[in-house]
């Protein structure tokens, strides 16, 4: 026989008046009191509910969702503005480049060893525990915790490195640098981080990337696909997304520079980054002249000569710097 208590609860239950706690109590009472048989409708219903309440989504649900969101964002990346029109994209497939800001501290979790790799005057290739290959440029270092590749793949970079990330969607690959975090699920990219004042620039040549800043005051995030760049201004904490017009940022890996109707000011900027030399102009009109030319493993000396010749300029060479002297061109950009 059902107890009075059980019967009261059942009546209430069928009126739809029971609270969650009362239904829990009823569940227990029905288990305890061995009235009737196991096939009573109420008991079976609770069993059915129990079976269903254990159900959960598969563990990679959130990663898969995030990837879909990334794809969605890229499909609707209409806000991208052109930076240097006509500069042609040639270069390495399967790579993305970015240049990030310096400084990181207090990163590894206590108790876990930190593994560091660094270079001084030369480049070096490093293979990470997850199979990712990293080409570390000169005067650069990276560090990661002992538990790299356990839940995610997080590392910190100072300087410049080119990454070929082993694809693993369940473990996002995260590069932290300064106030920025770059997240990829699997692709290749280059990071450069040389100067505290300089902007952090990321250039994507292949794959998908989330690039975010995490300054104390405000957070910003952009999604990038192939041939897009974003620069993060450390001064204003603002991320600007632009189309990448060339892959000159990859010079240290490819040894090639491409200029296609690029302004002299852009050429000078790229030469300074690529060769670490100083180039100046005697007349600021020169800066807006267009220049076209491709260089493969060429010396800075030769490039400057070609540049001067095509723009009808003279070169004044001092110790580690070049000065271009002459007039501006007839048809500036």
């Amino acid at each position: 026989m059902r107890s009075q208590k059980t019967q009261q609860l059942i009546d209430k239950y069928y009126k739809g008046m029971t609270s969650a706690a009362e239904e829990g109590e009823l569940r227990l009472l029905l288990e305890e009191e061995h009235y009737g048989n196991n096939l009573d409708e109420e008991k079976l219903l609770f069993e059915l509910f129990d079976n269903n309440s254990k159900k959960e989504l598969s563990s990679n649900f959130e990663d898969a969702l995030e990837l879909k969101i990334l794809e969605k964002e890229q499909a609707s990346s209409a806000k991208v503005r052109k930076m240097h029109p006509l500069r042609i994209v040639v270069g390495i497939a399967a790579s993305l480049i970015f240049i990030l800001g310096i400084t990181w501290l207090n990163w590894p979790e206590p108790g876990l060893k930190t593994i560091s790799e660094s270079t001084q005057d030369s480049n070096r290739e490093v293979v990470l525990p997850d199979g990712t290959t990293v080409y570390l440029n000169n005067n650069s270092s990276l560090s990661y915790s002992e538990d790299f590749n356990s839940i995610d793949r997080k590392l910190k970079l100072n300087g410049e490195a080119y990454f070929e990330v082993f694809r693993d969607e369940s473990k996002p690959f995260i590069v932290e640098s300064g106030n920025s975090t770059t997240t990829v699920l699997g692709t290749s990219f280059n990071i450069r981080n040389r100067d505290i004042e300089n902007d952090i620039v990321i250039t994507v040549t292949h794959g998908k990337v989330s690039f975010a800043s995490h300054d104390n005051k405000l957070q910003e995030q952009v999604f990038l696909i192939a041939d897009q760049m974003a620069s993060y201004s450390k001064k204003d904490n603002v991320i600007t997304k632009v189309e990448a017009e060339d892959r000159n940022n990859l010079f240290w890996q490819t040894g090639s520079l491409q200029f296609n109707s690029a302004s002299v000011s852009q050429v000078i900027e790229d030469l300074q980054i690529a060769y670490g030399c100083n180039v100046e102009v005697g007349n600021s009109d020169i800066l807006t002249c267009p220049f076209t030319g491709n260089f493969e493993n060429e010396s800075i000396e030769n490039i400057i000569q070609v540049l001067a010749f095509s723009l009808n300029l003279k070169v004044n060479k001092t110790q580690n710097s070049y000065e271009l002297i002459g007039k501006g061109c007839q048809i500036p950009l």
Partner: protein, 165 residues
Amino acid sequence: MHITEFKSLVADHKNRLFRIANWMLHNAEDAEDLVQEVFLKLWDIRDSLSKYRSIEALLVTMTKNMCLNLISKKKLEFQEYPMEWLNTQCDEKKLEHREELGILQQIIDALPEQQKIVMQLKGVEQLETNEIAELLGETENHVRVILCRARKSVKEAYQKTLRVS
């Protein structure tokens, strides 16, 4: 809305939405795809979420409606249950209940959609009546009426099948 905020929203609601979808569709794969669709739609409207009285209510409504769309699209028939489904529904030691649970599930599936959802929210999610009312945009009293009708018709239908067999 920033992605980290969005992700915590996903973490908070994903399994409940999945259970609702799975309750409606009886297919974990379809349910997972559907919940993903729900969150993608939410991402699209992430900047206007303040318009809604409750994000959870919005998510439950979206899930429910998308399930109904999918059911009518696929014209899913729950008259005959695939054995795989029954196997996943029951622990092995309760194998002897399998047939009865299958019958019960068929009865529940034949209920009007609102009754089916309320039964799930009350029985599986173990929510209080006022919480269900909030999620479905109904009055508490109406939820009680729905629950009362659903439970009574399940009981009657089940006892009828027992008498027949």
